[in-house]
């Protein structure tokens, strides 16, 4: 068995759980991650110094109160619908709360971006390819979008008409560049049998450096000390509708993301190409047997995955920044968590992205309100992946709680289950 087959066997086992079980496992993993996160918060509350203890347990004072941290987190992500600072367990509703608020816009912004990266990872994982390179695909896709828009914008009429022409084109350019960058590890995998986990990780490093050089040496904003491109005119970006300006959230981008979710689902489940892709992911030998061109499917799937990552970068540039700037947030890595949490199901990506968007946007409120560093989300990201990766843990947990004896199913013939003992 080669390394690649091992990776596929792993993915096969991940998807072996039934749909209900997968949802249960995702929830359980989330709860476990939150619990472990609480312990980490408590412990770090002992390390740091503070004037007054936020909480006291077993006669020891802690600077951070995990319950408060999580409350502030969710409250902040929704734009403070509750008055968390008031005493008592039940917090009163905030009379001034408006659903179209800044905090909620921030959550939806993160959610939108994570839908793209989550879909990107999901497509590759379904094809049996561990694309860890969504990050690099996003970085270069975003840069391509920013540069394309910057150079083409002067040729177009400004205003709504220009935007209607330019924005879709810019997204397509981002998708193309991201897709091509994704196709590189795909081709290396297909034709040189190079492990895609390592190549994509290496390509992430390379993408970051190349983008940095391109912008700092050639396409930088001459008026800026920061490594970034010249800001695009407002009409060439996705401006917020209904939500406040600073939230950087455009409902159009979310709608586009949701449409992509349906499109990816359709592609995977309803088309011949999707059948080929899923079969290669589940069982490459069977796919070959069924007439699937394994090499081409590998490259195509990686292109598709990269294109979705590239679109994520395009949306980041057009909706959030209005330019490309060095130090791109780790949206690609978060996409791995989102996809794994979603069981690599396109529809599952939406709630998973929403949840993770909530964590990310709430973490800012947490840092602000309780002093717990926002890097907490990075820890939770890893913990969630860890727990989702071990369904056996929850099965064992479940079987110690559930004391019912194993039900015996009826044997259908004398043969041993699923195999022969010749």
């Amino acid at each position: 068995m080669s390394a690649t087959e091992n990776a596929k066997a792993v993915l096969r086992r991940l998807t072996a759980a039934s749909a209900t079980e997968r949802i249960l496992i995702s929830f359980a993993a989330l709860i476990m991650a939150v619990l472990v996160g609480a312990v980490i918060i408590l412990v770090s509350g002992r390390i740091t110094t503070c004037q007054t203890a936020a909480t006291t347990l077993f006669g020891t004072g802690f600077c951070y109160d995990p319950v408060e941290v999580y409350l502030v987190l969710f409250n902040g992500a929704l734009g403070e619908p509750f008055l968390v600072n008031s005493p008592g367990i039940l917090k009163p509703l905030n009379p001034d709360w408006n659903p179209l608020n800044f905090g909620f816009a921030l959550t939806l912004k993160e959610t939108t971006l994570l839908i793209f990266t989550g879909l990107s990872v999901a497509v590759s994982f379904r094809a049996g390819l561990f694309n860890i390179g969504t990050q690099g695909q996003l970085v270069l896709g975003g840069l391509a979008t920013a540069l394309f828009s910057f150079f083409v914008a002067p040729l177009l009429p400004s205003g709504l008409v220009g935007g209607l022409i330019l924005i879709p084109l810019a997204v397509v350019v981002g998708a193309l560049v991201g897709g091509l960058y994704g196709a590189i590890p795909g081709a290396l995998k297909a034709y040189a049998d190079a492990n895609e986990v390592i190549t994509t990780i290496m390509l992430n490093f390379i993408a970051a450096q190349i983008a940095f050089v391109l912008v700092s040496e050639f396409f930088g904003n001459p008026d800026s000390q920061v490594v970034e491109t010249t800001p695009l005119p407002d009409w060439a970006t996705l401006l917020p509708v209904a939500f406040p300006q600073g939230g950087d959230f455009s409902i159009l981008a979310l709608a586009f993301g949701l449409a992509l979710v349906v499109a990816v689902w359709f592609l995977l489940e309803q088309t011949s190409f999707g059948y080929d892709l899923r079969t290669s992911g589940e069982q490459p030998e069977a796919a070959e047997y069924g007439g699937v061109d394994a090499k081409r499917t590998t490259v195509t799937s990686m292109f598709l995955s990269g294109a979705l990552g590239g679109m994520g970068g395009a949306i980041w540039v057009l909706m959030v920044m209005g330019k490309w700037q060095a130090g791109v947030p780790a949206l690609g890595f978060d996409g791995i968590t989102v996809s794994i949490l979603a069981g690599n199901n396109p529809f599952g990506v939406v709630p998973a992205a929403l949840l993770f968007g909530t964590l990310k946007s709430g973490s800012l409120a947490v840092q602000f309100g309780t002093g717990v560093p926002k890097q907490l989300v990075g820890v939770l990201r890893g913990l969630i992946i860890l727990f989702v990766a071990m369904p056996e843990f929850f099965r064992m947990l479940g079987s110690t709680i559930d004391l019912e004896p194993d039900r015996e199913t009826v044997a259908t013939d004398g043969g041993s289950l699923g195999g022969d003992d010749e």
């Binding site: 068995m1 993915l11 390390i47 561990f130 040189a192 490093f205 050089v213 560093p373 890893g382």
Partner: protein
């Protein structure tokens, strides 16, 4: 099949590596030739960099974390557990080593042991604990090794900057103001060029011991044979009465120990932990994986590959200091990564242990 065909197959595999090694050598000779012919040109600068003692000594220092992580990866994967979380182990040990030293107080000694060495061992301990977690998750709870490894990496990547921020208010730690220093062996260190081997960071000496020791353990001890059998055909091991899980736990813990040495040496060699972006580890754990694949799971080969990658890095750093030519630093920094990519594309077909990545069940379900 005949023995000769298998020999031929091995020969092609060998020739792959020979070509690469030869390629590296001929590039060097090419530079040397041009450098000698035109000493004042850029080639002269290249040659000076490649043959300078300080490049050798920084290459040795830079190869420490990669080599130790690669040795760890060998033990784990040979035992049948693919440890893609080496990067995470390096990060967590690098961070723990510094923060422990800082908490103890860099100038303090405890029981005659300088704080920096307490930090060194604390870093190792943290990596061992992390690998124990990874081992339990993979072996006891049958998690998917690749994903669990990614989780180890991502947890460490989040946890170290998080804890640094809690303690220092920023993702980087303060500089300890002290490092592991250098151990200089008199006389031998005066040898030109090769004297760099005898005037080095203590971790370099550890590495030079750990490489042959690892080879010996894998190839000459019963434990090493069990490790190899556990990764190739665990059932063969189980049926002769050796506990496969125990061997695999040992392999993974050993990988944690070795990676921990590498991580501690990395940060304490500098006296600081840098936590922004990908942290100061910056992909060394992943390069280590490529190093042992390239070295065909042989500790000596893995060291050779690590040294090659580290040498590139060292040359790259020195190259940035050469004035008068316009290649941007960031581009030069991609050289090691691109090399890894090319190497991986060329030696993609490595013979990995037959059962690596697979769970092992004894097959009985009623006990």
């Amino acid at each position: 099949m005949s023995t000769t065909t298998i020999d031929r197959l091995r020969d092609t595999e060998l020739s792959y590596r020979a070509t690469l090694a030869g390629g590296a050598l001929s590039v060097f000779l090419f530079i040397a030739l041009l450098g000698l012919a035109f000493p004042s040109s850029i080639w002269g600068n290249f040659l000076a960099i490649l043959t300078s003692r300080s490049t050798l000594s920084s290459a040795l220092r830079l190869s420490v974390p990669i080599t130790f992580a690669a040795l760890g990866g060998i033990f784990s994967e040979k035992a049948g557990v693919v440890n893609i979380g080496l990067e995470g182990l390096l990060i967590i040990s690098a961070f723990t080593a510094v923060i422990t030293t800082a908490v103890v107080g860099p100038e303090m000694t405890v029981l005659g042991l300088p704080a920096i060495w307490i930090g060194f061992f604390a870093g190792i301990l943290s990596s061992v604990l992390f690998s124990a977690l990874f081992a339990v998750v993979c072996i006891r709870f049958k998690a998917d090794q690749i994903i669990a490894g990614l989780a180890v990496w991502l947890i460490a990547l989040g946890l170290a900057p998080f804890a640094a921020t809690v303690y220092y208010g920023g993702v980087n730690t303060d500089n300890l103001g002290t490092t592991l220093g250098t151990w200089t062996i008199p006389v031998l260190s005066d040898i030109p060029f090769f004297g760099a081997f005898f005037d080095a960071d203590p971790a370099v000496y550890m590495m030079l011991v750990a490489v042959p020791a690892s080879w010996y353990v894998l190839n000459r001890t019963a434990f090493g044979r069990h490790v190899r059998a556990s990764g190739e055909n665990p059932k063969a091991l189980d049926t002769v009465g050796v506990d496969v899980s125990r061997v695999r736990y040992a392999g993974v813990l050993l990988s944690g120990f070795l990676a921990g040495v590498g991580g501690s040496a990395l940060s304490l060699g500098l006296g600081q932990f840098v936590g922004n972006n990908q942290t100061m580890v910056n992909g060394k754990g992943f390069i280590a994986i490529v190093a042992y694949l390239f070295g065909n799971y042989n500790p000596v080969g893995a060291f050779g590959a690590s040294f090659l990658f580290a040498g590139l890095e060292a040359a790259q750093i020195r190259l940035q200091q050469v004035p008068g030519y316009a290649i941007p630093d960031s581009l030069i920094q991609t050289i090691p990564y691109v090399t890894v990519l090319v190497v991986l594309a060329l030696v993609g077909r490595t013979r990995i242990p037959e059962a690596a990545g697979e769970h092992y069940d004894t097959g009985d379900d009623n006990r």
